[in-house]
C-alpha cells in the first residue's frame, strides 16, 4: 500500500520544541499522522500540544511509545549527532529535514550507519508522505515539511531531490485524479541517505505502486545509477525530469549537491541515461504527470 511508512507508523520528532519543528509537528498532527513522542534533551517530562510526551533521549521515547520512525528538526551543527542517536537506538527510519549540515559530518554519519538497520532519508529534504484516505488525504503519514493537502491516496510513487519540484509533481498527479502511494524527497545534499535507486527498488517491490515519477537534478551520478537498474530490472512505467539543463558548470545551484564539476553530472548525461532506460522524459516540468499517465 506504500513504502517506508504507513498511516499506522508511530513517529517521534527530534527537536520538537524548536519553532520549525513545533510548527511542522502541529501540521502533521492535524494531518492525522501518529506523532507519539518528542525528543529534546533536558525537556524530558514536558508535554507538546498537550498530548505528545517529550523525552530526553530517542531510546527512552521508543521504549515508552513504540515509535519506529523519527523526524529530525535539529540545527545543522547538532543534526549528525541526532541522526546517529536514532541509529544507535534502533529506529527503522530517520528523516532529516535540516539544511546546511557540514558535508564531512554526513561522511561520518554514512560510515557509522554501514551495517545498521536504520534507513535515512535526507538531509536537506522535504521528507516523506504516504497519503491517507480522508479529505485532502488526511489520515496519512507525513514526516517532514511537505504540504499534506496536495496529496491523494493512490498508486503512483514519487521520488525527488527537490522539495518544491516534488510538490509540483504530486499536485499535477492529484489534479489529474491520480493519487500517490508514497512521495519521497531524498534531499539535495551530495552525501545523503536513501538514493533514487534505493527508493525505486522499494516502489518496484510495492504491489500498490503502479507507476513511478523520478525527479533528478544536475550533480553526481545517482540518477544514472537508478536509470541503469531500471533498464535491466524495472517492470513498472517510470517517467522523469532532470532540472538544471541551463545551469552554468562549476556553480552550485542552491542545493549543495547541484553542481556540474569536471564535466560530470550534466543534465544532458542524465537525460540520455533516462532515455536509454526507457524512462519517459518530461519535456518540461509542467509535463511530469502527463508523461507518466500516458505510459500507463
Amino acid at each position: 500500500m506504500s513504502i517506508l511508512v504507513t498511516p499506522n507508523t508511530r513517529v517521534l520528532v527530534q527537536g520538537i520544541t524548536g519553532s520549525f519543528g513545533a510548527r511542522h509537528t502541529q501540521l502533521s498532527l492535524e494531518y492525522g499522522t501518529q506523532i507519539v513522542a518528542g525528543v529534546t534533551p533536558g525537556k524530558g517530562g514536558q508535554m507538546f500540544d498537550p498530548k505528545v510526551p517529550i523525552f530526553d533521549t530517542v531510546a527512552e521515547a521508543m521504549q515508552e511509545t513504540g515509535a519506529t520512525a523519527s523526524a529530525v528538526f535539529v540545527p545543522p551543527a547538532y543534526a549528525a549527532d541526532a541522526i546517529l542517536e536514532g541509529v544507535d537506538a534502533g529506529l527503522d527510519l530517520v528523516v532529516c529535514i535540516t539544511e546546511g549540515i557540514p558535508i564531512n559530518d554526513m561522511v561520518k554519519v554514512k560510515r557509522a550507519m554501514a551495517g545498521r538497520k536504520t534507513r535515512l532519508i535526507g538531509p536537506n529534504c522535504p521528507g516523506i508522505v504516504t497519503p491517507g484516505a480522508g479529505e485532502d488525504s488526511r489520515g496519512g503519514c507525513r514526516i517532514g515539511i511537505a504540504p499534506g493537502y496536495i496529496h491523494k491516496q493512490g498508486h503512483i510513487g514519487v521520488v525527488s531531490r527537490s522539495g518544491t519540484l516534488t510538490y509540483e509533481a504530486v499536485w499535477q498527479l492529484t489534479c489529474r485524479g491520480a493519487g500517490q502511494s508514497t512521495a519521497v524527497g531524498i534531499g539535495g545534499d551530495p552525501v545523503n541517505g536513501l538514493t533514487h535507486l534505493d527508493v525505486i527498488k522499494l516502489f518496484e517491490a510495492d504491489p500498490e505502486t503502479h507507476g513511478i515519477i523520478m525527479i533528478g537534478e544536475i550533480g553526481g551520478s545517482a540518477e544514472e545509477e537508478a536509470a541503469d537498474w531500471i533498464r535491466r530490472n524495472a517492470r513498472k512505467p517510470v517517467a522523469g525530469f532532470i532540472a538544471g539543463a541551463t545551469a552554468p558548470p562549476g556553480r552550485r545551484m542552491g542545493h549543495a549537491g547541484a553542481i556540474v564539476s569536471g564535466g560530470k553530472g550534466t543534465a544532458a548525461a542524465k537525460i540520455a541515461a533516462f532515455k536509454a532506460a526507457g524512462i519517459g522524459v518530461a519535456p518540461t516540468p509542467s509535463d511530469m504527470a502527463d508523461t507518466l499517465l500516458k505510459m500507463m
Binding site: 554526513m106 518544491t164 545551484m253 509535463d287
Partner: protein, 402 residues
C-alpha cells in the same frame, strides 16, 4: 567559498606540506624586498603570481596590455617593475570573463628547478560518500583532459573517514607515481599533509597542480607543492572563524553577496528573463522551461521555503539591478507558505521599485485564490498564469514583443 593561492599555501604549510620559499605582498617595494632576500638566500629565478580566484592566470592579460598574471624574473629590480605592472591592475583570464579581476596581492616565490610535474588532489567521492585522494603522473595540465584522454593515468585512493588517510595508502600512491628512495618518505609527508588540510578545514577540494620533483642546490631531489587551490564547504564555515576571515568579497559578484544578506540564493546568468522561485529544484526547472520556450534566463534565484515579504522585496531589488533584465517570471509553489503573503510582497515590491518591465506571476498552492485576488486588485499590469508552462510562454512572448 574559494580561497586565494596564498591562503591555501598558508593552510598547507601549517600541515607540513613542503613548498618553495615564498611570501605574499601588496606593494612593488615589498615585492622587491622579498625578491632580494630570496636571491640573497641562493635563489636564481623568482616567480611573481597574481592573486585572484580565477584560473588561467599565466596566460591572462592585464587591461593595461601587460602580458601574463604569472611571470619569471632574475633580479629584484625586474620583480619591482613587474609587480608595479600587476598590482592595482585588472587581469583578464579565460575564467574571469571580460570584466577581469583587480590584482591586489602577489606571491613572490623561489622558482625551483623542476624535473617532473605531478598532480595531487583530495575531494569528495559522491558515489562512495567518502574522501578520495587523486594523483597522476600528468601534472601541470588540465586534469579533466587527462581523465578524458588517458583515464589509466588517474590513480584514486578512497579514504575511510573513521581512520583518516593511513601512511600505507600514501606509500601505495607514491609507488604508483613511480617515486623511489627518499622521495617516497617526502611524498608520504605531502600526501598526509594535504589530506589533513582537506579534512581539518572542511574543504570541498584541495588541489596541488603541479606537485613537483625539483633539483635542489645541493643536487638532491625534493618534492614540493608549486601551486595550490583550496575550496571550502560553506556549510562548515560556522566552525572555522579563521577560514571565514579569509573570505574576499572583492572576488564575488556584488549582487550575489547582496542576495546572501537576505538569505536569498542568487546566481547571475547572461540571459534577459529574470526569475524568482521558491526552492532550488523548482528554480532550476524554471530556468530550464524559460529556455524550452525560446527565452534565456537572467538568473537563478531561490527565495527559500519560507520566504517573507521583505525577502520578496529584496529579491526584486536585486533582479532589477541586472541591466540585461527585460522581463520577470515569478514562480511560487506555496506548499505551506501562504500565497497571499507572497502576492502582497510582490505588489509591494512592484510599487516600491516602480517596475515597468513585463511581470508574469504563477502562484500555486496554499491560499492561492486569495493571492490571485490580491494581484488582480492591485491595479498593476501583472500577467497571471496557472501553470509553469503557461507562465514561461507568456514571459518569453512579452519580452520578445516588449
Amino acid at each position: 567559498m574559494n580561497t586565494h593561492e596564498y591562503q591555501a599555501r598558508q593552510l598547507l604549510g601549517q600541515r607540513m606540506v613542503a613548498q618553495p620559499a615564498w611570501e605574499v605582498c601588496e606593494t612593488p617595494d615589498a615585492a622587491r624586498a622579498i625578491a632580494a632576500q630570496l636571491l640573497a638566500d641562493g635563489a636564481t629565478i623568482i616567480a611573481i603570481k597574481s592573486q585572484i580566484h580565477a584560473g588561467g592566470r599565466g596566460k591572462g592579460t592585464f587591461k593595461s596590455g601587460f602580458q601574463g598574471g604569472v611571470r619569471i624574473c632574475k633580479t629584484a629590480e625586474d620583480v619591482y617593475e613587474k609587480a608595479h605592472a600587476m598590482l592595482g591592475n585588472v587581469l583578464v583570464t579565460r575564467q574571469t570573463g571580460p570584466e577581469g579581476r583587480l590584482v591586489r596581492k602577489l606571491i613572490i616565490a623561489l622558482a625551483p628547478d623542476i624535473r617532473k610535474e605531478l598532480y595531487l588532489a583530495v575531494l569528495l567521492d559522491r558515489e562512495l560518500s567518502r574522501p578520495v585522494v587523486i594523483t597522476s603522473t600528468e601534472g601541470g595540465m588540465d586534469i579533466e583532459e587527462v581523465a578524458a584522454r588517458t583515464p589509466e593515468k588517474i590513480i584514486k585512493e578512497p579514504i575511510d573517514p573513521a581512520l583518516g588517510m593511513m601512511p600505507y595508502q600514501a606509500r601505495k600512491l607514491a609507488l604508483a607515481l613511480g617515486l623511489k628512495g627518499d622521495l617516497i618518505a617526502q611524498a608520504v609527508k605531502v600526501l598526509l599533509g594535504v589530506y589533513k588540510t582537506w579534512w581539518e578545514c572542511d574543504a570541498s577540494l584541495v588541489e596541488i597542480n603541479p606537485l613537483c620533483i625539483v633539483r635542489t642546490r645541493e643536487g638532491n631531489e625534493a618534492l614540493l607543492a608549486v601551486d595550490a587551490k583550496l575550496s571550502l564547504d560553506d556549510n562548515a564555515l560556522y566552525r572555522h572563524p579563521d577560514l571565514q576571515a579569509m573570505r574576499d568579497l572583492a572576488e564575488e559578484a556584488p549582487l550575489e553577496t547582496e542576495a546572501g544578506k537576505f538569505n536569498l540564493n542568487y546566481i547571475q546568468l547572461d540571459g534577459n528573463i529574470a526569475c524568482l522561485v521558491n526552492g532550488a529544484g523548482l528554480a532550476m526547472a524554471t530556468m530550464d522551461i524559460i529556455q524550452h520556450f525560446g527565452g534565456r534566463p537572467a538568473n537563478f534565484l531561490d527565495v527559500g521555503g519560507g520566504a517573507s515579504q521583505e525577502q520578496v522585496a529584496a529579491a526584486f531589488r536585486i533582479i532589477l539591478q541586472d541591466p540585461n533584465v527585460k522581463g520577470i517570471l515569478v514562480n511560487i509553489f506555496g506548499g505551506i507558505m501562504d500565497c497571499n503573503v507572497i502576492a502582497s510582497g510582490i505588489v509591494a515590491a512592484v510599487k516600491e521599485t516602480g517596475l515597468s518591465l513585463p511581470l508574469v506571476v504563477r502562484l500555486e498552492g496554499n491560499n492561492v485564490q486569495a493571492g490571485n485576488r490580491t494581484l488582480a486588485a492591485a491595479g498593476l499590469t501583472i500577467i497571471r498564469a496557472d501553470t509553469m508552462a503557461e507562465a514561461a510562454r507568456k514571459v518569453v512572448q512579452a519580452v520578445a514583443t516588449g
